[in-house]
Subunit: 316 residues, 2 copies
Amino acid sequence: MSTTHVPRLILSRVREIQNDHRSGSLALARRAGQILAQWTRLPNRRADFHRQLALVCRALIAAQPQMAAIVNLCNAAQRAADRSPHADAARASVRAAVDGFLQTVQMAATEIAQTAATLISDRMTVATHSYSSAVRDALLTATAAGRKFRVAVTESRPLQEGVLLAKELASAGIPVTLGVDAAMALLLKEADLVLVGADAVTETFLLNKAGTFPAALLARRQGIPFYALAGSEKFAPRNYRLPPEIAKQPSEVLPRTPRSVEIRNLYFDETPLKLVTAIITEKGALDPKQAVRRLRKLSLHPALMIAGQGEEVPEE
Amino acid sequence: MSTTHVPRLILSRVREIQNDHRSGSLALARRAGQILAQWTRLPNRRADFHRQLALVCRALIAAQPQMAAIVNLCNAAQRAADRSPHADAARASVRAAVDGFLQTVQMAATEIAQTAATLISDRMTVATHSYSSAVRDALLTATAAGRKFRVAVTESRPLQEGVLLAKELASAGIPVTLGVDAAMALLLKEADLVLVGADAVTETFLLNKAGTFPAALLARRQGIPFYALAGSEKFAPRNYRLPPEIAKQPSEVLPRTPRSVEIRNLYFDETPLKLVTAIITEKGALDPKQAVRRLRKLSLHPALMIAGQGEEVPEE
């Protein structure tokens, strides 16, 4: 019995991540980190440690392969393990790497919210699409700083995360207007700037919730700035190829698929970096090309190379 | 008692048009024509005929002020009445003008479907947004001509007319893919051309269901042609100013408006004619500027000038 397995408990938690289509990418990365930490605390064969780590990491990446933060978390964990060939030391290294990664992400989020908040001044209308925790934090930070502004949000079908954002902003006393995604041009018309989050940043595009690309085109057409908020954890490793997205449940679009109609339920579109005015990072507001050069440091660990959504992971 | 009134029966039918947010603009113009014809058959004071006609026309225009076909229908009726100062002759003229208008529209629709169908060849993917009877007819005509192609449709929130189109096309044996409006970039990515309808064409823009403008920007970005299908009845008269759209019921967007959130439910966006490859008219495929020059012939009758949505019409 020399086959390496991933504990069933861990796999079932990975599946929860896979089936979670509502949480943002930082919340998912946080949970992925908890899963990795939990895995290090399980009894497992020392000889197997590094190989099993790679399997857990690949399962996590495959669960949400569009989320660069999970890829980077796993990459950090795998590289940390590499530095310690002995299982016990590697275990501690992985835990420290996960903790360090999540702390860095948290600090970056605070920096980003503060920098993005400075873009907002009194009487502005800020447009956004879907729900980004980074955008939410920026708006709340601007409000806390006494700025008086309005927000225009599109609902973000099929799951309508934009409605959740609208509710949270309204609860915080921010005047907020909500519209359907199709009415994006009409909502943006009165906006002074657009803020969006990011699930991944590659050398050429920003991957984010579908609707971001048309929003960027509209902003360009209208001559208003379009900012993406993304910490370095969102910059996909150099050699990580984002796999094609697997379509989600048609029932999210319509409760019943009409006869002979194919429903294509895709979540992410690619916004060319050329349409992005600046990326707001923990290092400040950077030109997108410059941001990619400065923040995309690591390449993917060889053990994680074949990770791709739908990959079979042997079960314990 | 010299006040001119519109018969209650007519007003109640006009209100049905006002509250109909699902029918296309040609279907609405047809019903507006029926209402005008019905009105000419009602007993009314001869001395009042012309003034009452203007009131009925203004009520019809105000009911759906974005629908150029209704404006042009009313304009034709009012001009016909002008040519006959006597009520009985005017009555017949109005009826003939309405009949003539609707017949012309019908013939134009057939021409447009045939011209647009020639744009579609085997193995193409045609993208469209919302429900346009002109686009539907073009697709059915292409199918009837033996063309094998696919259609990609966006649902068109809030009322999802795109779902209806998808169903109708599927019933006709056309392979059809349906997606949410936010996923427009993803659906268009595989398209070879975009066909949309029009509610109005002005000197500078195409008014159509919200989502059309981002679709045009995406098509331009992607280098695929973007065609609007519009008969001459869709070209707004020279001096008709499209009034600002009045927001529709928030309950169409969400059953319950979340506390402190303002829902803005707008139906129409403006696509600059510069983004339109050609307008397919009953005179063939025309460059948009040329189409406006050739097809926007009449100016609005002075009696209809003050028409605007929400205008009060004295009741009988």
